[in-house]
Amino acid sequence: MFNLFIRTVIIYLLVFAVLRLMGKRQISDMQPFDLVITLLIADVASVPLSDVGIPLLYGAIPILALFVLHRLFAFAALRSQSIRDVICGKPVIVIAKGVVLEDAMKAANYTMGDLTEQLRVKDVFSLSEVEYGILETNGSLSVLKSGDTEEECFPSVPLVLDGKIDRKALSDTGRDENWLRDKLSSFGGLSPADCLFVFLEPGGVIHAQEKMKKTKPKARLLKVSK
């Protein structure tokens, strides 16, 4: 019996360390990928706990292998937008300018029942109140309510993320790369590759932040109106 206790302590410490090193997140905020890895670790950990005839390594090795794989995929996702899209998926706009996009709903396997339920969770009881609805990669729905004024209302559009230009988003907003480079160059010759992010805010305001560099440790936050 004491062996079982010692085994439990070892596996507990291992699982605790691995989950902490994988990053602290709430279950509700997890990507499906993260959730599956966490459930797998929990399942694998239980195998050698209750049976002293199974070597402890039969539980520890799969846990460590999952940890290493998870870190590798996380690293790859951090480096490459396309890998991030494959692993995490992309947010889907399901309501644009007050119109429910049926094709996007179908592609995301999202029913009207799901949509109205998620809207109610966000304290929105009428579709007419919604200007934009975005289905996030973790399954939650982000809602931008219609403004009271006639001014154009749209969510912030990421034009540059991690120094890479999203050309589709740029063309969707009716702008081109030259326009973006012109805007950024007004900040001391900044290029898109130097930016951690560039968002186009409602009203045509650009919200950008320069990447942190070793020689220049303080990131600059830039804002420019249209």
């Binding site: 090193l21 390594l57 090795i61 460590l64 940890f67 290493v68 870190r71």
Partner: protein
């Protein structure tokens, strides 16, 4: 101003644990193979020798070989139990003990059968860690 305290420590901890995990996984891929190879190298010649001596009717010499097999397996049992099912290792030692008993009763047929069983079990343990399609699936 709000600051992230201990960010560098966390990053370092993740890197160190990642490197340690990779090293451990690599070691676990290699060490069991070396261990079972060593067990085979120690015991297979003794098994063959015990068989030959028993066939010649020299049960006293066969007993010495079999006692060495039992001793070898008991010495390696802790390390083997790290990587193989505990029941499999205990069964292996039991079979060696059975063979030892047969040298005492001088029962040639049962001794040869027990030593054959021992060889089969060693074959099984060797194959468990082979990288092959049947083992993977």
């Amino acid at each position: 101003m709000i600051r992230n305290h201990g960010l560098k420590k966390t990053t370092a901890a993740v890197r160190i644990s990642l490197i340690a995990s990779v090293i451990l996984l690599a070691a676990v891929c290699v060490y069991p193979k070396l261990l079972i190879k060593k067990v085979n190298e120690e015991n297979r010649p003794l098994i063959e020798s015990a068989k030959e001596k028993a066939n010649c009717g020299d049960f006293a010499s066969a007993r010495i070989d079999t006692e060495r097999i039992v001793g070898n397996l008991k010495d390696r049992s802790d390390a083997l139990m790290l990587f193989y099912g505990h029941a499999d290792i205990l069964e292996l030692i039991n079979k060696a003990d059975t063979a030892l008993d047969m040298t005492k009763t001088m029962d040639l047929g049962l001794l040869i059968a027990a030593l054959g069983d021992l060889e089969n079990d060693l074959d099984g343990l060797t194959r468990v860690n082979d990288v092959s399609l049947p083992n993977i699936i």
